[in-house]
Symmetry: C2
Subunit: 434 residues, 2 copies
C-alpha cells in the first residue's frame, strides 16, 4: 500500500495566499497526491512570522524558526517567502543538506539561480521553480525539457498582470497613466508600492529566468534592459491606436546572430506597440501569454493565469509532485544548463524597431530633414505618415530593424531639429514582419 | 569531458520525414546534444524498408532487420513507423529488454498504452511520447508533470490539421465537403486515403491519450465517441455563420460529476460550432490548439504546429534528451498514472448542447410543437430564432446542456413532425457558457 510507505516530508517557508492553498489541497486530497507520487506527501512544518494569524493550521505545524525547520527531518523545502534574504540563505542551507527545493521566487532565481543550482548539484538535490514565471502556465518545464532537443530563437510575452491591467485600461478609457494606476490600486490590481510591477522589475526577473533556460546561458536580472510603463502616456496609447496597434509591456528574449554568424543573446523589458490582431494584443487583465519561437518547433504560444493563489499553487504542487516522485524513484530533475554561455548584448546593440510620432511645422522640407537623419544613422524607414493641421503637422515614422543605439540617437537628433515642435511618442514596435 | 563519456546509443525504427530530420539534427549538433544530456548521443542504427531510398545516411547505419537492431547494443529505441504492428512487438521487445522508448505513435499509445507502460515499468525503462499528440506543442509533459498537482476538468482542442484545413476552407468559400476534400488532396493537405483524418480516427486516438493523462484513467480509442467531418454540409457551415460561429472538429475530454458527486469521464471527437471570437475559432490550417481547464490553474491554452517533419522532430528530440538524461543520471520518467480509474461515460450519457436548424411550415403553433418536444425530454432551450420566408420559415434552436441521448432523440422526434419540412443542420455547440 502506498499509504504505508515512508512519507515525503515537506517544510513550507511562508504561508500567504499561495501557501495556504498548497496546504489546503495537500490536506484535502492525500490519496490523490500519494497515488501520483508513489508515497504519501506530508507537510511537517510551516514557518511563518506570526503564527496566531494562521488559525486554519494545526498549532503543532507552525513555527517562527525557519532555519530549524529546514535543518529538521524534512525531504523537501517549499519556499514562498519571496525576496532575496532570508530566502537565499535558507534554500542554500536546505540544498547543501541534500534537501530538494521548490520555489516561486523569481527575484532570487534571477539573481542567484546559478548559486542555487550549484548547491543542488553538489548534494544531488533537486530545484524546481515553475511558479516563478507566469503563474499556472506550464512554461519553464516545456522550455527546460520539452524543447531540450530544439533551438529556441525567441521568447516574447506578457508576464506581468498589473501593468497589463493598467495598459488595457488606458487603451479603453484614454485616461492618463497616473489616474489609471490610482484606480488600479483602489481595485486591488496594483500594490500599495507598485514599483516592482510598473517599473518592470518583476518582468525583468522573469525575462532573466526565461532567457537563461531558452538559451542555455546565464542571464541575470541586471543583464536585462528594463523600462517600465510609468513613462507611457495617453499620447503613446493614442498613437498606437492610430496605427491599429496596442501598447503592451513585453518581456523579450532574443538570440541574435551577427553577420559573421556569431551568436549572442539579448533580454529586455519595455512597452511596445503590437498589431491589434496579434494574439498578445487580446491578452487582458490578469492573464499572461508567452510566445516561443524555436528552429524546429516553429511558433508556440502558452496562455493562462499569471498570478493568484490557486493558479500559483497549481504550479508549486506540480513541482512538488515531480520532486517527490524523484525522491521515491531516486530520480533527478534537470540541472542548470548553461553550456552555451553566449554573450549578453547591451540594449544599444540589440536590434529593434521604433515608432516615432512628431509634431512638426507644416512646411516643405521637414520630411526630407527627418529622413536624412535616419539615413545618417543607417536606419531604414518602413512607413511614413504625414498629416497637416493648420500651421502644424504630424509626422509618424516606423523604422525597419536597426540597433537600438542608432535608433535612440536618431530620435535625439530629430528632437533638436528646429522644424520639430514636439516628440509626441517614441515606442518600440514588435510582433510583425520587419 | 562529456565527449569522452559512454555514448547513449540510439536505434531509429522508420526514417520518413520526421526520422530524417531527427538524424540530421543529431548529426549537425553533436556538442549541443551532448551538453544537454551529459553524454554524447549517437545513432547506431536505422531500420528502414528500402535502404537504397536513404542515400543521405551512411550505409553501415541502415538495416532492414528491425528486430535485430532492437536486440543489439542500443540504449534507446525511437519508433517512427506508425500503426500497430510491427511497432507494438518491437517496442515491447525493447522495453522488456530494459531499453527505453520514444515514440510518436498515437494509434499504438491509444490502444496498447497500458501494455507498453507495464513492460517499461517491469524493466525500469522509460517511455515518452510527446510527439504523438499535437506535434511540436509541449502538451503531454505539462499534463503528465506540470499539472500533476492539480485536477484537470476538461481538455478541448483542435488536434487534426487536415480536417481543420477543410473546415476553414468550407467556411471561407462556401463550397461543399466533397469539393473541398478533393481540393485539399490536390494541395497536399489531405492524404490519398483521408479516412484516418476525416473520419476522426486520428483525433480519437489523440483524445484517448489526452483523457488518460488528464484524468489518471485508462481511456482507449474505442472509448472515444467519434464523428468525423464527412457529414458536415455547406448548410451546417452557413447555419454556424448565421449564429456568428465557426465549425471545428474538436477533441473533447470531460470530467463529469453527477448529482451524487460521483465522477466519470467522457472523451469524444465531433464537429461543433464555437463562437467566432473563441480562441480556437481563429486557429487555421496546420496549427493545433488545446485548452486545458484545471481546478487550480484555471484555463490554459497551448498553441503551435500540430504536424510536419521539423515540428514533430522537435518533440521527438525533446523526449530523446529526457530519456538520455535519465540514463545518464539513473533517473526515471513518469510512469502510467491510472490510479483514478474513473468510469468512462457513453456518448449518450455525456452532457452536451445542440444547435438545431429546421425548415418549417410558416404557420402558428409550430414553435410550440417543437418546444413541447424539448420539454418532454427535459431539455431546456437557450435560444430560439424564427424567420419567415413565404410559405416556409426557419427555426433555429440552441439548447442548454442536457444528456446527448436526450438531445438526439428529441431531434429524431422533431424530424417526424408534420410541420417540419427539413432538419437543415444539427450540430453540437461548445465554447461558451451554458
Amino acid at each position: 500500500m502506498i499509504e504505508d510507505r515512508e512519507p515525503i516530508r515537506v517544510a513550507l517557508l511562508g504561508c500567504g495566499t499561495v501557501g495556504t492553498e498548497v496546504v489546503r489541497l495537500l490536506r484535502d486530497r492525500p490519496e490523490e497526491f500519494a497515488a501520483r507520487v508513489g508515497a504519501p506527501v506530508r507537510v511537517t512544518g510551516v514557518a511563518v512570522r506570526r503564527p496566531h494569524k494562521h488559525p486554519e493550521l494545526p498549532e503543532e505545524l507552525l513555527t517562527t524558526d525557519s532555519a530549524s525547520l529546514v535543518d529538521g527531518d524534512v525531504d523537501l523545502v517549499v519556499e514562498l517567502i519571496g525576496g532575496i534574504e532570508p530566502a537565499r540563505s535558507l534554500l542554500l542551507r536546505a540544498l547543501r543538506a541534500g534537501k530538494s527545493v521548490v520555489t516561486a521566487n523569481k527575484a532570487l532565481l534571477a539573481e542567484y539561480g546559478s548559486e542555487l543550482y550549484a548547491a543542488a548539484d553538489a548534494s544531488g538535490a533537486d530545484i524546481y521553480f515553475e511558479a516563478s514565471v507566469a503563474g499556472a502556465i506550464p512554461l519553464l518545464r516545456p522550455l527546460r525539457e520539452s524543447l531540450a532537443g530544439d533551438r529556441i530563437n525567441r521568447v516574447m510575452g506578457i508576464v506581468n498582470g498589473t501593468t497589463n491591467y493598467i495598459l488595457s485600461a488606458m487603451d479603453s478609457t484614454g485616461a492618463s497613466y497616473s489616474e489609471t494606476l490610482e484606480e488600479a490600486g483602489q481595485l486591488g490590481y496594483a500594490e500599495a508600492d507598485p514599483t516592482a510591477d510598473v517599473d518592470g522589475f518583476d518582468a525583468a526577473a522573469k525575462a532573466a529566468i526565461l532567457a537563461s533556460l531558452a538559451f542555455h546561458t546565464r542571464v541575470t536580472a541586471t543583464d536585462v534592459h528594463r523600462e517600465g510603463i510609468s513613462g507611457t502616456s495617453a499620447g503613446d496609447i493614442t498613437a498606437a491606436q492610430a496605427l491599429d496597434r496596442r501598447v503592451k509591456l513585453l518581456a523579450i528574449c532574443d538570440r541574435v546572430t551577427d553577420e559573421e554568424g556569431n551568436e549572442s543573446v539579448s533580454a529586455r523589458v519595455h512597452p511596445a506597440m503590437i498589431p491589434r490582431d496579434h494574439p498578445l494584443a487580446g491578452v487582458g487583465g490578469a492573464f499572461n501569454a508567452v510566445f516561443v519561437e524555436a528552429e524546429s518547433a516553429g511558433q508556440l504560444m502558452f496562455y493562462g493565469q499569471g498570478a493568484g493563489g490557486a493558479p500559483t499553487a497549481s504550479a508549486v504542487l506540480g513541482d512538488m509532485v515531480a520532486v517527490a516522485r524523484n525522491l521515491v524513484v531516486s530520480g533527478k530533475g534537470p540541472r542548470e544548463s548553461a553550456h552555451a554561455q553566449l554573450p549578453v548584448r547591451s540594449m544599444g546593440q540589440t536590434p529593434t524597431r521604433y515608432h516615432i510620432s512628431l509634431d512638426v511645422a507644416d512646411k516643405p522640407g521637414v520630411l526630407s530633414q527627418v529622413a536624412s537623419m535616419f539615413n545618417e544613422h543607417d536606419v531604414s524607414i518602413s512607413v511614413v505618415r504625414q498629416q497637416g493641421r493648420g500651421a502644424e503637422a504630424s509626422l509618424v515614422v516606423v523604422t525597419h530593424t536597426a540597433l537600438d543605439a542608432a535608433l535612440k540617437s536618431t530620435v535625439e537628433e530629430i528632437a533638436r531639429l528646429d522644424a520639430v515642435r514636439e516628440v509626441v511618442s517614441v515606442m518600440r514596435v514588435e510582433g510583425e514582419l520587419s
